[in-house]
């Protein structure tokens, strides 16, 4: 039932180790695939000689770029990333060749025996080099630039006297953050008798992946069948399409099933991480603490290939000034190419990075003005009917003030600071555009089938661990009174539902399921209602009973199912329409925006530089909490991810998401339940908005404790030692 916690349908199998992920799959005659990867960040490939690999016993096939159609490239927005590097490698870890062999050992030995001759080239690791340096790709180095110009500089007061300005400046850096999906990318390909290929991949976005693989292999899309398998987590990006295409190619070449599972080190090097960002900000305010203007230059490191960088810039630009009313904004944001691994989308893409900067600026401003940082934020907070710096008027709920007040008024942690430590408290508020932006024409579909009281829901949305399957069951329970619906993943058999994340399935696929379920309900209730001379709308289904509005009718739900054998309905839900941002970064680009506020309390040992996060209190713009248990889990995971970015994680290290000591359980000060118009049950996705202010609030708390400026993450002990 909506509003109550429900158990996951797949929970038992997963807890018993009986749930299969791609790496667990096997097929008769299986070959293992291992890729040959470039050790250089930038190099010309002079020669690839596979002869040595063929000499290894058990090796059955080796493929290089020469085995692919010319220009076989993939990419969701721009297809610029070669499946296998052709003539040049642009990041360390880029795949150059792949070997299939009878055993994993033989495949590794074969991969080590492929001789690749490189001529190293100068590598551009600093994104600022992208502007002056030689192009790293024929398309140039700037993946996208938005020059947002909004309003006019405020120089004079209403009475004509000059404004007494307070100006604060800062240069901020946020590092890349590794997805750290528990299961690394993997793929199993089986050759089909018709010359096509069947792919078993934990793809969150099966349609796009299938189309890209087909394109890269020069096959019609119909000959590539992609079956989504159990996904071992997704923080926003998973399944390297290039890997899937290579495995498919080897299956076609050898005529045998081929499987590849990335090693953790490989997974770290192939990209998909949160964009590293460098941000220069200037904030201007008057003496009363009203923001007059925000100027910023922001560079995202897109890595070697385009990926989703253009979209991330589109999201970032509207968040760059924060959830505040800003009369004048001049923000230039670039995503550029470097010889680093290609970045992906990770929970809160774009918004997390700028939140670290704009919230640090707000604290600096509060300090310069001698104001309370919460008061300064409240004074400038966006509210319903106000305008983003993209010129878009926010017509949905905008509970910035309510969220911030909730965390500020929550009781502070009861325990006193640990002996010898400095206690600091930091606040941050963030915003996150949900769903596809800038005219992305997004929709999702679902079919609901009722057969003798058993409900089966089929949708193309993929469960990656976010709990979508639970939500589907709750919707069916809410509408039809059947608690244990079977949820099937359609793969590519239904039109695309888009990738999970940015609240897409909570809105679009949930909306489609709700619509289909409601249609069944109308159809089945009509005869029951007719029996009592009323319309179906006057009847309600709840707790396994059909009840009339006046309580006079109270029947078992079985009455609905008596005369009906089988009903199948289809539902669809489309996102509110949007438009691309214009040259000045203006336009109604976002279908919806979600907000969250966070207060973090830390105890810091000034001598050792160790930081203990004592308390995290959050307030979340949920629209409506559909499942309190699941909502809490979403928030817990987002806070852990945010604390990880601020304190424990490091893209160079193998696996460092925060553990049980690094982050406290989240205290939720408020679920703000102002329904989002147009969204099913008024609910919005939680995960993305929840992570946005966390790193900023952690840094603010450490600044409060130490008085240090701390312009970059992560905060390591050597950064925070104070005398």
């Amino acid at each position: 039932m909506i509003g109550e916690s429900a158990p996951r349908p797949d929970g038992d199998a997963k807890a018993r180790g009986r749930f299969s992920y791609t790496g667990d799959l096997w097929a008769p005659g299986l070959l293992w695939c291992v890729l040959v990867r470039s050790p250089y960040r930038h190099a010309r490939i002079l020669d690839v000689d596979p002869a040595g690999a063929y000499a290894v016993p058990g090796v059955r096939g080796v493929v290089t770029a020469a085995d692919l159609p010319p220009g076989a490239c993939h990419g969701v927005i721009v297809a610029d990333r070669p499946v296998l590097a052709d003539g040049v490698v642009r990041f360390a870890g880029e795949a150059v060749a792949a070997v299939a062999a009878e055993t994993l050992h033989a495949a590794r030995a074969g991969a080590a025996a492929v001789l690749v001759s490189y001529q190293p080239l100068e590598a551009a690791s600093d994104p600022e080099h992208a502007f002056a340096g030689p192009p790293l790709h024929p398309d140039g180095n700037v993946l996208r630039h938005i020059a947002l110009r909004h309003g006019r500089p405020v120089k004079l007061r209403r009475d004509g006297t000059p404004v007494d300005e307070v100006v604060v400046e800062g240069l901020y850096e946020v590092p890349a953050q590794y997805q750290a999906n528990p299961a690394t990318d993997a793929a199993l390909a089986l050759p089909s008798p018709d010359g096509g290929v069947e792919l078993h991949v934990a793809s969150p976005y099966p349609h796009a992946d299938r189309d890209q693989v087909a394109e890269c292999l020069g096959l019609p899309a119909g000959m590539v069948r992609l079956m989504p398998t159990g996904a071992g987590g997704s923080a926003g990006t998973r399944e390297d399409v290039g890997l899937t295409a290579v495995v498919a190619l080897l299956a076609l070449r050898t005529g045998r099933p081929v499987k590849a599972v990335l090693e953790r080190d490989e997974s770290l090097s192939v990209g998909g991480h949160r964009h590293a960002a460098r941000m220069k900000y200037t904030h201007r305010a008057d003496r009363d603490g009203r923001l007059l203007g925000v100027e910023a230059q922001i560079i995202l490191d897109g890595g070697a290939y385009a990926g989703v960088s253009a979209e991330v810039i589109g999201r970032l630009i509207g968040c760059a000034a924060g959830p505040y009313m800003v009369p004048y904004a001049a923000v230039d944001a670039w995503a550029v190419r470097t010889n680093n691994p290609p970045a992906g989308a990770m929970r809160g893409p774009g918004a997390v990075q700028v939140c670290f900067a704009h919230e640090a600026q707000m604290d600096k401003l509060a300090d310069a003005l001698g104001m309370d940082p919460v008061e300064l934020r409240l004074r400038n907070a966006l509210s319903s009917g106000t305008m983003l710096t993209t010129g878009q008027v926010l017509d949905g709920p905008v509970p910035v003030g309510a969220a911030l007040r909730a965390v500020a008024e929550a009781a502070p942690p009861a325990a006193p600071p640990a002996p010898g430590t400095l206690r600091g408290t930091g606040y941050a508020v963030g915003l996150m555009p949900l769903l596809g932006i800038e005219g992305a024409d997004e929709s999702s579909t679902a079919t609901v089938r009722l057969d003798g009281g058993v409900v089966t829901v089929t949708c193309a949305a993929v469960e990656v661990g976010q709990g979508f399957v639970t939500l589907v069951r709750q919707i069916v329970d809410e509408v039809l009174g059947v608690p244990d619906a079977i949820v099937l993943q359609a793969g590519t058999a239904l039109p695309t539902a888009g990738a999970p994340g940015v609240g897409r399935h909570t809105w679009l696929t949930a909306g489609a399921v709700e619509q289909a379920a409601r249609e069944i309900r109308e159809r089945l209730l009509a005869p029951v209602a007719a029996r009592y001379g009323m319309t179906a709308r006057l009847l309600d289904v709840r707790d396994g009973r059909i009840k009339s509005y006046d309580g006079l009718i109270d029947l078992s739900v079985d009455a609905m199912y008596e005369d009906t054998a089988t009903v199948t309905t289809a539902g669809a839900c489309r996102a509110p329409s949007t438009e691309p941002l214009d040259d000045a970064g203006q336009g109604n680009a976002y279908p919806a925006v979600a907000f969250s506020a966070c207060r973090v309390v830390v105890d810091l040992d000034p001598e050792l530089g160790t930081i203990r996060v004592v308390d995290v209190t959050g307030a979340y713009d949920a629209g409506r909490v559909l499942d309190p248990g699941q909502a809490r889990v979403r928030v817990e995971s987002s806070v852990a991810m945010g604390v990880g970015l601020a304190l424990t994680e490091d893209i160079e290290s193998v696996w460092s998401p925060p553990g049980t000591w690094d982050v406290p359980a989240v205290r939720v000060a408020a679920w703000i339940e102002e329904p989002q118009p147009g969204a099913p049950f008024g609910a919005k996705g939680l995960g993305d908005a929840a992570v946005v202010p966390v790193p900023a609030a952690v840094a603010a708390a450490v600044r409060d404790a130490t008085g240090l400026e701390l312009p970059r993450l992560p905060l390591r002990p050597r950064d925070v030692v104070v005398e």
Binding site: P182, G230, T660
Partner: protein, 189 residues
């Protein structure tokens, strides 16, 4: 394991008996450097323990070795001799395990589920050695299981719940009369 210049043909192999889940399993002509995780998954068909990092830091491959939770990816299988390996496939048969599994599902710690067999193994090892584990013990036992889907606390909550629910059962087994009600299906909290 791999690397340029490594000669797999010349790699020494051996045959040995591995005690897994109460059975003696023969491993034939295997490279002596194969880790326990590889042997369990690829030679013995036991895919319950997952491969997450191969470096002993993600916890997804946790199994019991003589009742102690270890990272199977860090253990050389050929060196184990008579030591008893238990994987999730066998732990699943213990009534104690069911309580841990139920608590994990209820607390929301099971999302993508990839880390969960390892979490179950660590939690069961903890509950076997400690009748009433404290907060610190629980956190220490689970610290090697980072989780992106749910964060660390739902699993900590689950183990706390499983330990608490179990406590009355032990008490009443030592008593002559069943004066303390056995834990109800819905839990005792």
């Amino acid at each position: 394991m791999s690397g340029p210049g490594f000669d797999f043909d010349a790699a020494p192999t051996t045959s040995y008996v591995l005690r897994v889940n109460g059975e003696a399993r023969l491993i034939e002509n295997a490279w002596i450097g194969e880790n326990l995780l590889y042997v369990l998954r690829e030679r013995l068909g036991l895919p319950g323990a997952k491969d997450g990092c191969g470096q002993g830091v993600c916890g997804t491959c946790t199994v019991h070795l003589d009742g102690v939770a270890v990272s199977a990816c860090l253990v050389a299988a050929a060196t184990l001799g008579d030591r008893e390996v238990r994987t999730i496939e066998d732990l699943d048969n213990d009534p104690e395990t069911a309580g841990v599994q139920r608590a994990l599902v209820e607390s929301g710690a099971v999302q993508c589920g990839y880390c969960v067999p390892g979490v179950v193994a660590s939690a069961c090892a903890l509950l076997a050695r400690s009748s009433e584990p404290g907060e610190v013990e629980i956190r220490r036992a689970l610290d090697g299981h980072p989780c992106r889907c749910a964060g660390p606390h739902p699993m900590v909550d689950a183990v706390r719940t499983a330990a608490r629910r179990r406590a009355p059962r032990e008490t009443h087994s030592t008593m002559m009369f069943n004066v303390i009600a056995p834990p109800a299906a819905g839990g005792t909290e």
